[in-house]
Symmetry: C2
Subunit: 157 residues, 2 copies
């Protein structure tokens, strides 16, 4: 990808995009939680063109129209979020620290969460990440994850 395209995408991500991590409760997961990484852009439906352009450049993710009429372009998953952030990271200004922390979390997860201790440590990093986004919604955090791990005797307090 040429540098001006990377710079444009970095500017658009700084202005309109969101990077986030979620601790998703999964009953069929060994340690009860999935750590989900997402990179999302939202636009009014009349602006879908720019989301198609981005998807074409980034070659990943999916676009859907929400019930409220907004259009959403989502890239979900550690490896794809890692690849896209790595592409534009050096050109980011507003979200540079957030992007670096996202890369660090994905790197630490590595080939997967294979111990309760690792899930506990990663969930604390996810808490730190959440501070960038100022969500008013109640979100699952490391306190909840650790309670779950203790109560299921997967981790000792």
């Amino acid at each position: 990808m040429i540098e001006t395209t990377k710079a444009y995408i970095a500017g658009f991500l700084d202005g309109d995009g969101s990077i986030f991590f979620q601790l998703v409760k999964k009953d069929d997961y060994r340690f009860g939680y999935q750590v989900r990484a997402s990179l999302v852009f939202y636009q009014k439906s009349q602006n879908i063109k720019i989301l198609n352009w981005l998807k074409n450049k980034l070659r990943t993710g999916y676009i859907r129209t929400r019930k409220d009429g907004m259009v959403e372009y989502s890239i979900v998953g550690h490896s794809e979020v890692f690849r896209v952030i790595s592409l534009v990271k050096d050109r980011l200004i507003l979200k540079k620290s957030q992007a670096k922390l996202a890369l660090r979390i994905v790197e630490r997860i590595g080939t997967g969460i294979d111990s309760a201790g690792k899930l506990s440590r990663i969930s604390k990093e996810v808490d730190k990440f959440g501070k960038f986004n100022y969500s008013k919604k109640r979100v699952r955090n490391s306190v909840e994850v650790r309670k779950f791990l203790f109560s299921h005797k997967l981790l000792s307090p």
Copy 2:
């Protein structure tokens, strides 16, 4: 300005910026209205850094904190809006047509609005421009401007 900076600013403008024209009632103006051009970026106050960065690159405009806690970086005036849009125009994707129309309006205004006919024509271009922005607020339009010009016998219906 280097091309990657232009591309970043174009991306940020496409994601977060607004270009608009206003027909502002001015009792001391010969034809009753000022045509005001603006380019504005809004951010939460914790993100003021990116607005300072932009102002430093664009060398124009002013930053103010609004009562609702948002920070606003505004560039107001035909020549400054023209200069900034010209800088990034070729890198815009979402707002490219809007940017071209803005440049055309400013070019048509040229050295000023020196006739009622010119104000009437320009106010129709401003109407077209307003269609890009989908504002729910009632805005002054060419119908109002022309009514004013007719009622003051500055223009014949």
